[in-house]
């Protein structure tokens, strides 16, 4: 991308320049996001097209050829794939992703109806991850190589090594089966949220503990920390006041990426707990070959992930004014 920072504008105050640069950057990024979404739509369309004839799953075995042809025509399945895609795109631009084969209603509305559940689960998991990983990560870094570090690092290693669905099964076994204190599946109350949240957050927590630990340890080795020590500040004040903010950038990046992964990757956990989110919907739709719903779900999730990445990039500038938006890496 060409470097078009507003440096060449005459007679502009630095503040104005900064805003202009930000605006240009935003437009560029939004434009790129549209391209990415288009590519995602092509990819998902082709993949789903390759996955075989959906009509076969729609009709009874003894259907007349005439009816089969009618269905084919009704869903444009008799056209070449490129034409199908363009027809799909034309409609999708107006918010119409077709009608679900299974529910006989608007695919996009079905996905959007499930979205709050997935977002809710991703948010509670992210929150739990942060609550656990930030203190543990800082603790591990300040006591590097000693007992708190060994403990936190082991917890982290278990978190990233545990198959999430297995953890889910064990939690169900203990809390829903053995102790009967929490429901094993479904949604509606906060109790339903507890086990899926723990299950989803285990991996992200492990990852974040390691990341916070490494990032904080790196920062602790820098000159301004030595200066702060020289001024006689307590280690705790240094850790929370100086170090955390300066360690935040890689942490925020991975948290953003991780949040995206949580949105998309909770498929497995949603299936374990029969949590009515987009992921579970997608697994069911794949089994039922409900193409419009699969497409709508993939696109909505991709849109979310693209937006989250954008927000993460904007957050950088708030955390570290030295980072210039739009400047090329390296």
């Amino acid at each position: 991308m060409p470097d078009r920072r507003a440096g060449s504008l005459p007679d502009a105050s630095p503040r104005t320049l900064q805003y202009a640069a930000m605006a240009i950057y935003l437009v560029q990024r939004l434009w790129q996001s549209v391209l990415v979404l288009l590519a995602v739509s092509v990819l998902s369309f082709v993949l789903i097209f390759l996955s075989g004839d959906p009509v076969a799953a729609l009709i009874p075995l003894n259907a007349r050829q005439e009816d089969v042809d009618n269905i084919r025509r009704a869903y444009n399945l008799d056209q070449p794939v490129a034409v199908q895609y363009l027809l799909f795109l034309q409609k999708a631009a107006t918010g119409d992703m077709g009608e679900s084969f299974r529910f006989k209603s608007d695919a996009l509305s079905i996905v959007l109806g499930r979205l709050p559940n997935t977002v809710l689960l991703a948010c509670t998991s992210m929150l739990l991850s942060m609550l656990v990983s930030l203190p543990l990560g800082v603790l591990a870094a300040t006591y590097k190589g000693r007992f708190p570090d060994v403990l936190a690092s082991s917890v982290a290693l278990f978190g990233i090594s545990m198959p999430s669905f297995w953890l889910g099964v064990i939690l169900i076994l203990i809390f829903a089966g053995g102790m009967r204190v929490l429901p094993a599946s479904g949604s509606g109350t906060w109790q339903h949220l507890v086990l899926p949240t723990i299950t989803v957050s285990a991996f992200a927590t492990g990852l974040l503990i390691r990341l916070v630990r490494r990032s904080v340890a790196d920062t602790l080795g820098q000159m301004f920390v030595t200066t702060a020590r020289g001024k006689g500040l307590s280690e705790r004040a240094i850790a929370w006041g100086h170090v955390l903010r300066n360690s935040a950038i890689p942490v925020v990046t991975v948290m953003g990426l991780q949040f995206g992964a949580l949105l998309g990757g909770s498929v497995v956990v949603e299936t374990v707990f029969a949590w009515p989110g987009v992921g579970w919907l997608m697994i069911q739709s794949i089994e039922a070959r409900d193409l419009p719903v699969i497409r709508a779900a993939v696109l909505i999730l991709a849109l979310f992930i693209v937006l989250i990445n954008l927000v993460v990039d904007l957050l950088y500038t708030l955390l570290d004014p030295r980072i210039k938006l739009g400047a090329r890496a390296q």
């Binding site: 979404l37 995602v40 099964v169 064990i170 076994l173 997608m282």
Partner: protein
């Protein structure tokens, strides 16, 4: 893009930069000891799994597929009702769980290693081209990376597998396809760094061809971080295979896999919890071992 660059330095499991830090001798010793311990435990766990997989190729206590409904859902050896010869108990079809756990190691290791080779080769090639030649090649590759990153990996894998059908080879290809991005990003980043070094400029001035420069000067210098990432990627792909088989879209049930065993085990776990516990424990131990090994390698 700043995003990609920062994520590289953050997520990339490259050697810890102890920039400016004065590390005392005692601390260095402590760290060496810790790294040694990690390599030892991790290596032992991995070696054990490889050994079990190798042994299971020629011998298991029972044939892993041998069914006998008369001994359905036998408990493990310490519980009442256990039968000699089935120390970990049996599944619904009366198959010996110990034998199946042993045989399952084959599929897990194969998928883990083969998918990393596939993804690594694709990512290495594209990342090298992008970093070395720059220009439109780089733009193209990096946009592909963006697209791939905005696709949820598990969903992509499920969609492709729904299209191509279940199978060990398909799972390998899909996981390779999903994970090439991380290699491409790291390789591009380190290639950019190496490309600007004096010895590369010197080689070019002497008239070396692009192919020779890449082979002789760039590849050897970017390999160490890739090896660390590959190690950890083996474990994440083992986890992914298990998840896919658990969902019923990965490897067909005719091949013994830990994920598939879990898939079958979850339906009976109220009656016979051990069916769901053993395969998960096996996955946990292997993945834990590989991650320890990767950690040790990256801090060495």
């Amino acid at each position: 893009m700043s995003n990609a660059a920062v994520a590289e330095s953050a997520a990339g499991a490259t050697a810890e930069s102890a920039a400016g830090a004065v590390v005392s001798a005692a601390r260095t010793r402590r760290r060496r000891r810790k790294v040694g311990r990690q390599l030892l435990i991790g290596g032992a766990l991995v070696l054990l799994t490889v050994l079990i997989a190798a042994v299971s190729l020629v011998w298991t206590p029972r044939p892993p597929g041998e069914q006998d409904l008369a001994r359905s859902l036998l408990p493990p050896f310490w519980m009442p009702g256990a039968q000699a010869g089935f120390p970990l108990g049996t599944d619904l079809n009366g198959r010996d769980l110990l034998s199946r756990i042993m045989a399952g190691a084959q599929a897990s290791l194969f998928v883990g290693i083969a998918s990393v080779v596939v993804g690594g080769l694709v990512g290495l090639t594209l990342g090298l081209l992008a970093g070395y030649f720059g220009g439109w090649v780089e733009s193209l590759v990096m946009r592909l990376v963006d697209v791939q990153l905005s696709l949820p990996g598990v969903l992509l894998a499920i969609a492709i597998l729904a299209a191509t059908g279940k199978g060990l080879v398909n799972v390998v290809l899909v996981l390779g396809f999903v994970s090439w991005v991380q290699y491409a990003r790291i390789v591009r980043g380190s290639t950019l760094g190496v490309r600007a070094q004096e010895y590369v400029l010197g080689a070019r001035a002497l008239g070396a061809t692009h192919g020779r420069i890449i082979r002789r000067h760039i590849l050897p210098n970017i390999l160490p971080p890739i090896l660390v990432v590959s190690t950890i990627n083996v474990s994440s792909n083992i986890l992914a295979e298990a998840a896919l088989s658990y969902l019923g879209v990965g490897v067909p049930l005719s091949t013994v896999t830990w994920g598939g065993m879990l898939n079958e085990g979850k339906t009976v776990f109220e009656l016979a919890w051990w069916n769901a516990i053993w395969p998960g424990l096996a996955i946990l131990l292997v993945v834990f071992g590989i991650n320890l090994l990767g950690d040790g390698l990256s801090e060495r």
